[in-house]
Amino acid sequence: MKKAMIAISALTIGLVCQAAFGQTEEGITGRQILEKIDANEVTETQYMEIEMVMDRGGKRKPKTSDLKIWVKGKDNAAIEVTSGPDKGTRFLRLGDDLWIASREAEKPMKISGHMLRQGFLDSDWSYDDTTNNKPLAERFEAKIVGEEVKDGKKCWVMELKANDPDETYALQKLWVDQATYLPVYQELMALSGMLLKTMSYEDLKQIDGRWTPTRMTMKDALKNKTQTTIVVKDLKLDEEIDPKIISLEFVENVR
């Protein structure tokens, strides 16, 4: 079993943005925009059902997996694969610690920290893409470098530089919709400036009173023609989560 985990980071950046549709603010700074994005992450809990479609390019048939995701606070999450070849596999994040349990292995295994950069369920998403949910404003210095129309939306174009050089994507370019403060497009780069991945956010829908993108596509720039799309099928916010789910019990008893 190698790879795993879904986009809690991107999902919460993009997904759970409380879209305060409003006037474009004049003179706003990059940091203020990041703070607005972060401020939108106001839910204590999230429950999502998503479909992950891994398009391997060429004539190869895309691989599809369905997942259930529970998120509590900023860095606690549980994921269960409910369809596809990895059905039954579970992942748990508690703070900076990760565990995986599969039906084949029949025991939970703690995942070494360096595996955070590896892919999840053969997708273009890494463990870190999916679990790093720390506020953007704490992790990056941001400046507005321009304005562009992206996917029909008037956006700020922002450059983000990580405060910690060990950040997986130390440099980022982010297109933020000026009307909604929702990310529209993202380029993720190494410290050298080499493009590693891109992410697009699409299909805005209003769920529980919040505008959220329900389709996110990540492309790995280092791979040929592969991309992974996440489609949000269900999203529930601020509903109580069974404490047994966000705990080691979740991976101790895989059935």
Partner: protein, 396 residues
């Protein structure tokens, strides 16, 4: 008639039986609305360097079990479905059943199917019960403890597969109770008994704590079957690289014998090469092993009481995921006492619900050691010069 005979010679009884069993199982699971998963598998194993004569030194019980003459190739077919049925509406009770139907052929000839055990095992048959904060698993199950690769000193129900370390554990008759405790503590207690000898009991407890970036456990066991008491520790964490340490002390209840130790320490790391390059290295110490090859306890290995012979081992494993479908692994186990090694490279290709694996087990080193025994010196006579294999598995 000749055509019919030819058809039957190709299909053979075993394959027809396998197909019927699959059909019946799927029909049953459909009627019962149960969840079903598992696989059908066919393996081909080619062995070089054995026989053809049975070594005279073999004990009678081993001679009875071994095919005569030794085969050059083995085919092995398995059907291993698992059925999970929720009992009741609240999901607090579930039943899991995993029968395994298997057939072995030596050099294309069916082995004698005299007993049901020759072709059918019930590998899992257990109830899961949610009882307040505790989760109870009762019945035939696998209990699988420890963080290290291949060798797990703290696994009180251990099985060691040097070359097929991802193989499923055999089912044991047991009850296991898991209790989550406050502050990330958790406790698991287990008791097991033998398949036919109900005095072969084992009792074990494992207390664990996730803290400071590591998962830490202490383990205790009372092994009535082997008249042993044991204590162990198991730590797995990350400090830039991943690390693990597992160690256990085994104390014979008969005080005429000295206690002994087993320990494993290892590290791993992964690199952004293609879809990921994973490298792990570990050291294994077994005080019951021997540093001199002339002292090796081959008879205990024959009897299945030990999986290795020496005291000090190193293990190196590397897996490169070329893309989401193709990966290659090499696993090498090096006997530091006699300088012999077993290298096991294999390639895995996954295409939809099919997975194909092909590989070899290659002994390396000077003749006369554990993995390269000299024919005259080797009392067991069952260590091949080379084994290569391929298997295809279809996931239900």
């Amino acid at each position: 008639m000749k055509a019919i005979r030819n058809i039957f010679s190709v299909l053979q009884f075993t394959r027809i039986f396998l197909a019927l069993a699959l059909l019946l199982f799927c029909l049953f699971s459909s009627v019962a609305h149960a969840e079903i998963y598992g696989y059908i598998e066919a393996r081909l194993i080619r062995i070089e360097g054995l026989g053809p004569e049975m070594p005279l030194a073999l004990p009678e019980e081993v001679k009875e079990m071994a095919p005569v003459p030794f085969p050059e190739y083995i085919t092995y077919e398995r059907f291993r479905p698992t059925l999970v049925e929720e009992i009741g509406e609240d999901g607090k009770i579930s039943l899991t059943v995993t029968p395994e139907i298997h057939f072995i052929q030596y050099d294309g000839q069916n082995s004698d199917l005299m007993e049901t055990d020759d072709y059918l095992n019930v590998e899992r048959l257990y109830l899961d019960l949610d009882a307040g904060p505790a989760r109870i698993r009762l019945g035939r199950q696998a209990i699988n403890w420890g963080s290290a690769l291949i060798w797990n000193p703290t696994d009180m129900f251990k099985e060691v597969y040097l070359t097929d370390y991802w193989a499923e554990r055999k089912g044991i008759n047991a009850v296991k109770v898991y209790v989550p405790l406050p502050e990330d503590f958790r406790l698991t207690v287990a008791a097991s008994t033998g398949d036919t000898v109900f005095s072969d009991n084992r009792y074990a407890a494992r207390a664990s704590l996730a803290r400071w970036g590591a998962d830490m456990s202490v383990v205790w066991m009372d092994d009535a079957a082997n008249d042993l008491l044991a204590w162990g520790v198991d730590v797995k964490g990350t400090a830039v690289i991943g690390y693990w340490v597992e160690a256990a002390m085994f104390a014979p209840k008969n005080r005429d014998y000295d206690p002994y130790y087993q320990a494993v320490a290892g590290v791993d790391y992964s690199f952004q090469v293609r879809d990921g390059l994973y490298i792990a290295a570990q050291y294994y110490y077994d005080q019951t092993g021997d540093s001199k090859r002339e002292d090796y306890k081959w008879d205990e290995m024959q009897a299945g009481k030990r999986s290795t012979l020496a005291t000090h081992y190193a293990n190196l494993m590397a897996t490169l995921s070329w893309n989401s479908e193709i990966s290659g692994t090499i696993n090498a186990i090096y006997n530091l006492d006699d300088q012999t090694a077993m290298a096991s490279p294999y390639l895995t290709v996954t295409l939809g619900k099919f997975r194909v694996t092909a590989g070899a087990n290659i002994p390396i080193g000077p003749e006369g050691g554990e993995f390269m025994p000299h024919p005259d010196q080797d009392a067991i006579g069952l260590v091949p010069d080379l084994t290569y294999y391929a298997w295809v598995r279809y996931y239900l």
